[in-house]
C-alpha cells in the first residue's frame, strides 16, 4: 500500500469538526448528562489538536498538556456528576429547561 504521509491539516480539520459537534450538542440538547458528554467531546477534540502540534514540533510537550486536560476532565466529570445527582434528588428531572427557579 502507498505510504503517503497524511497532511497535518487533516487532523486539525477533524479536531475542528469534532469541536463544532460538541458545541452543537452543548447548545441544543436538553438532557443534562448529554450536555456533559458534549463537553467531554469538546475536550477530546482539543486533545487531538494538542497531540497534532506536538508531532509537528517533535516534542512531547503537547502530550503532557493533553495529559493534564485529561486529569482535569476527570476531576470535572466527578464533581459535575455529583452535582447532577444532587439536582436529580431535589428536582426529580434531568431536563435543564425545568431547572429554572431563578427565572424572573
Amino acid at each position: 500500500m502507498p505510504n503517503a504521509p497524511v497532511p497535518l491539516s487533516w487532523y486539525l480539520i477533524l479536531s475542528a469538526i469534532l469541536f463544532a459537534l460538541g458545541v452543537a450538542g452543548f447548545i441544543f440538547r436538553r438532557n443534562i448528562i448529554t450536555v456533559f458528554m458534549s463537553i467531554e467531546l469538546m475536550l477530546n477534540a482539543v486533545n487531538l489538536s494538542f497531540v497534532t502540534f506536538s508531532y509537528e514540533f517533535k516534542q512531547v510537550d503537547g502530550h503532557i498538556y493533553s495529559f493534564f486536560v485529561m486529569v482535569v476532565a476527570a476531576a470535572e466529570a466527578a464533581v459535575g456528576l455529583a452535582i447532577i445527582l444532587t439536582v436529580f434528588k431535589n428536582r426529580a428531572t434531568l431536563m435543564i429547561d425545568e431547572v429554572n427557579s431563578m427565572k424572573y
Binding site: 497532511p7 480539520i13 448528562i33 458528554m37 467531554e40
Partner: protein
C-alpha cells in the same frame, strides 16, 4: 497506509460524534462517546503519542465513561422527548448544507496552513520515558497541583453525593 487508517478512524469518530448529538437516550450517547474516544486513541497512536493513547483508553474511555454510564443507569431517566419537528427534506437539506460548509472550512484551513511534512507512523515516538522525564522536571509544579486538584474533586464528589444521614 497511514492515510487509510486515518480516513477510516476519522470517519468512525465523526460518525460517533454525530450519533452522540442526535441520539435521544443518554446511554446511546455514552456508548457513542466511547466509540469516539477509541478512534481518537488510534489516531494518537498514529501521531506517535503512545503514552497518550494508552492514557486515553485507560483513563478516559475506561474510567470516566464508566462513571458516566454508572450515573446514567443510577438515575434511570430515560429517553428525552424529541422536540425538533422538521420534514425529512429539511433535515436532509440541512445535513447537506452543513457538509458543504464544513468542506469549505476545511479547504480554507488547508490552504492557510504552512506546508509542513505530513504524518507518517513511526516518525515520532512520544514514549512514556520522554513524557515522564518532562513531567517530573519541567512540568513538576502543574503535576503536583493537579494532584491537589484531584484530591479536591474527590472530596467534593463525596460530599455532594452522599446520602443524608
Amino acid at each position: 497506509m497511514t492515510a487509510l487508517i486515518f480516513i477510516v478512524f476519522a470517519g468512525i469518530a465523526v460518525f460517533c460524534a454525530i450519533n452522540l448529538v442526535v441520539q435521544t437516550h443518554p446511554i446511546a450517547s455514552a456508548l457513542s462517546l466511547i466509540g469516539v474516544m477509541g478512534s481518537l486513541a488510534i489516531l494518537y497512536l498514529q501521531l506517535g503519542g503512545e503514552f497518550i493513547a494508552a492514557a486515553q483508553v485507560i483513563v478516559y474511555a475506561g474510567a470516566i465513561m464508566v462513571l458516566f454510564v454508572f450515573v446514567i443507569m443510577l438515575l434511570n431517566a430515560g429517553a428525552e422527548a424529541v422536540s425538533f419537528q422538521a420534514s425529512r427534506f429539511v433535515r436532509y437539506l440541512g445535513a447537506l448544507l452543513l457538509a458543504a460548509f464544513l468542506g469549505l472550512i476545511s479547504l480554507i484551513i488547508q490552504a492557510a496552513l504552512p506546508k509542513t511534512e505530513g504524518v507518517l507512523f513511526g516518525t515520532f515516538q512520544g514514549t512514556a520515558l520522554d513524557v515522564g522525564r518532562k513531567l517530573f522536571t519541567t512540568y513538576l509544579l502543574p503535576f503536583e497541583v493537579t494532584s491537589v486538584l484531584i484530591l479536591i474533586a474527590i472530596v467534593g464528589a463525596i460530599v455532594l453525593a452522599r446520602k443524608e444521614v
